[in-house]
């Protein structure tokens, strides 16, 4: 064991399974070790190790120049990260809860996303943080933020659902020369079922490539993040109770969208259900529906449908939030409808 590596970051070396959160910590740690132009900024990421402890131990290991506690100014420090990126550094910014990325909306969409196009050069920069509901976090600690940025050319958006992908995608994001928004579902962070043993060597998961979670004949579910797991649960039920065979595609990267993977699957199954945890109107399901119309309309044997959260802010109380969020049962119902279509 390498003495220089904090003990809790050596699980993979020791062949032990890691959580999605630990996979993210490992990715950051390894990239910072590999490339000393990589550095971190964010609120409370230093001595405290971040609100979710993703960077626990990093300050001691890498020092104050590479693990920077910022003022509470998401726009300011994200903009500063962009400035540092111009100078050849590769900043990784943590937003304490991704809901608080909104004060940085201006600098991300107008400055960062347009830098290359305006001739100011590539801007390697990762903006990462926890998203998603189910934690009784209320309206401002539960949001998914992909649709705030999905409409902005120049950005990439990543949203992993497994520990393996989280590590490989984050490493790819850090090495990417474009700005990347990296969403981490806090409900998956420490989910015991997601613990897995990761390869003890350097690997990346390329951005822009979806993953087929399971193959199926009757219906394609396109999804990502926490809903991958809900969809698998639903698919098990559909298999057992209805004999319906569901193909599940985990987008992993939302922007650019792996249109080919979606289109090919739909060409095989003829039916498409999009499932996202995010709210309904203006969600990513629409873009997917549009792409499939453009590329595979003739193969459709039924309407493209979606299962999503309801169109409201994220409510705090348990029964409300459960009602707000898409449930496995919704996926089963929608799939049955499509399967019978």
């Amino acid at each position: 064991m390498d003495a220089a590596i904090p003990e809790h970051l050596t699980r993979t070396r020791r062949g032990e399974p890691v959580t999605l959160l630990e996979a993210i910590s490992e990715a950051l740690f390894e990239e910072m070790t590999r490339d000393d132009s990589v550095f971190l900024m964010g609120e409370d990421i230093g001595a405290y190790g971040g609100a979710f402890k993703v960077t626990k131990g990093f300050l001691d290991h890498f020092g104050e120049r590479r693990v920077i506690d910022t003022p509470i100014a998401e726009g300011g420090f994200t903009g500063a990260a962009a400035g540092a990126a111009h100078m050849g550094l590769r900043p990784v910014v943590e937003i304490q809860f991704m809901d608080f990325i909104s004060p940085a909306y201006d600098v991300i969409t107008n400055y960062i996303a347009t830098s290359l196009y305006r001739g100011a050069g590539p801007l390697p920069l990762v903006i990462r943080g926890p998203v998603g509901g189910g934690n009784r976090g209320g309206p401002f600690h539960s949001q998914n933020v992909e649709m705030a940025f999905f409409h902005t050319p120049g950005l990439k958006i990543v949203y992993p659902s497994t520990a393996y992908d989280a590590k490989g995608l984050l490493k790819a994001a850090i090495r990417d020369d474009n700005p990347v928004i990296f969403e981490e579902h806090k409900g998956l962070y420490r989910a015991p079922a997601l613990r897995e043993v990761l390869p003890d060597e350097d690997y990346v998961v390329p951005l822009g490539k979806a993953r087929t979670v399971r193959e199926g004949r009757d219906l394609t579910i396109v999804t990502y993040g926490s809903m991958v797991h809900s969809s698998v649960e639903a698919a098990d039920t559909l298999d057992a109770e209805d004999g319906v065979s569901v193909e599940i595609i985990d987008l992993r990267t939302l922007l650019p969208l792996d249109e080919d993977a979606v289109v090919e699957s739909v060409k095989r199954t003829g039916k498409l259900l999009v499932v996202h945890e995010d709210t309904r109107t203006g969600g990513i399901a629409g873009e997917i529906a549009m792409r499939v119309n453009e590329r595979a309309f003739e193969w459709l044997d039924g309407p493209i449908l979606r299962v999503t959260a309801i169109d409201s802010p994220v409510p705090y109380s348990g029964p409300l939030e459960d009602y707000f969020l898409p449930q496995v049962e919704d996926i089963v119902t929608a799939s049955r409808y499509l399967a019978r279509y």
Binding site: I72, D99, I310, P313, Y316, L320, Y323, F324, T333
Partner: protein, 349 residues
Amino acid sequence: MSEALAAGLDRGQLHELYRYMCLAREAEERLEILQKQGHVKGGLYRSLGQEGGAVGAAYALRRRDDGTGDFLAQTIRATGALFLFGGTPVDYFRQYLARATSPTRGREANVHWFDFGKGFIGPVSPLGTMVEIMAGITLSFRLRGEDRVGMVFGGDGASSTGAWHEGLNFAAVQGCPMIMMVEANQWAFSTPTRKNTRAESFVDKAPGYGIFGESVDGTDVLGVYEVVNRAVARARAGAGTQLVELQYFRRKGHAQHDPHDYVDPDLIREWEKKDPIDTYRARLLSEDWAQESELDAILAGTRAEIEAAAEEAVGEPLPEGLSALGGVYTDIATPVPWTRGASPDPRAG
């Protein structure tokens, strides 16, 4: 000392200050127990050591029930101000317990609640926003020629946000009768103040906005009252936006889940000696503004009130899931998802 007590407050008022500080302390301590029992759903925030600043400041405002009084924007560290403005302990518990009966019907948490009749407005989480909102509330007072003022609380860390700056600057330029209370408790979560600002004092920020600022020991309820009372008077008289810095210390973690281990325990012990309730109590007694039995009775009263409120809230139901649908718009209902309809069919939508 006698000067402070001569600030227009009579014995009853002095006792009232004591009562609201105790109420905040007791409510939060009761909440800790409720949390251990698994009743509290989200984070739990304490205002320990900051009760005097909250109560003393808000006490300088005009409280009314009919929507004509001054306005308060409270924070998680200003529980006492919220109670003083008529937020009830039972509503406080309902909020933390996410009850159907809570002022936000379980939709929002902790002190994030509203009563425009009583004149208080709860925050959203993004820090700094409420400064903008209060700038507009107090703008409306000025536009209508009302002699009302508004007070917005905000932490030292919140001062780093663009919203804080834009809101305060707007209020200053527009001459809005707003009191900006900077809760300088030396921490923003785990981050010490010097990492949020290089200014030596938050009062140093006032001239940059062309406004008057003053600093006060935030553990001294009467000192706070006096300073804020002057600020309120200036604002009410048309002198525009005011800034007051409350100097004290966050004696607990950011929230209950924060082990607080980044803070030197000696420092915490130092500040315990300046506990706003203990020091005020000692002073009331030593200066003969109260007798021990009176204060004990007040404390016992608040305990009983808190106990009853907690029990009431605990006994109440959580909201029905379906109630999540209403009130996104005033005039458009959010539909029941088609997958949850009686005979599920997307075409029904």
